[in-house]
């Protein structure tokens, strides 16, 4: 299995969208403020559907919100 980690730019995108609050973003995609906080901190990976919803809110492609960083093994 390919090893890797998901990173995201949700915090930056919120900042560039008028410092949108976590609660507001959460409300628009149907999750709680705490879930947005967990996503931003990289402690929870959202479903594909929620990820697309976040991208739609910020009107950017999905890969501008979430990135996959593969770890090269030995």
């Amino acid at each position: 299995m390919i090893d890797g980690a998901i990173s995201n730019r949700v915090r930056i995108l919120r900042f560039h969208n008028g410092e949108m609050t976590q609660a507001e973003l959460g409300k628009r995609i149907g999750v709680t403020r705490q879930t947005i906080a967990a996503i931003e901190a990289g402690k929870y990976s959202p479903s594909l559907e929620a990820a697309f919803r976040i991208a739609a809110v910020f009107e950017v492609p999905l890969d501008e919100v979430f990135q996959w960083e593969a770890r090269t093994g030995k």
Binding site: V31, Q34, T35, A37, A38, A41, K43
Partner: protein, 140 residues
Amino acid sequence: MPYKEKTAWLALLAMVVAFGPYFAIAATTPPDDMLPNLRQLSFFAIAVVVQLIILAIGHLLLRRSSPDEAGAPADERDRLIQQRAVTYAYHVLISGVIMVAIVMPFFTGGWAIVNAAIFMIVLAEFVSYGVTVGSYRRQS
């Protein structure tokens, strides 16, 4: 702290306060198997009533402190955590039921078996809420 984590903490507290003394009494003064054993039945009823009172008051206070979160449906993370918690609890419950149903009748009887079954149910619930709290803590 998410509302659902608060309710999980409340459930853990209610179980410890209500069933901690119940199992302490059951362990230190084993019930006899005379029928009907109203003393043992009353202990169990008291534990259940105490648990229900703590849960009712706790939920009322939590709803008052954050009414918006209380009314919000579970989101995808809540559902994932719930699934994980139920899976762990299921394994505990199944293991416990197998032990109580197959092993215990060879060694004991009556209320000892009933109490062991109740203990396994409470333990499974405890594991369920424990996993819930642990999952929210890890992701906060």
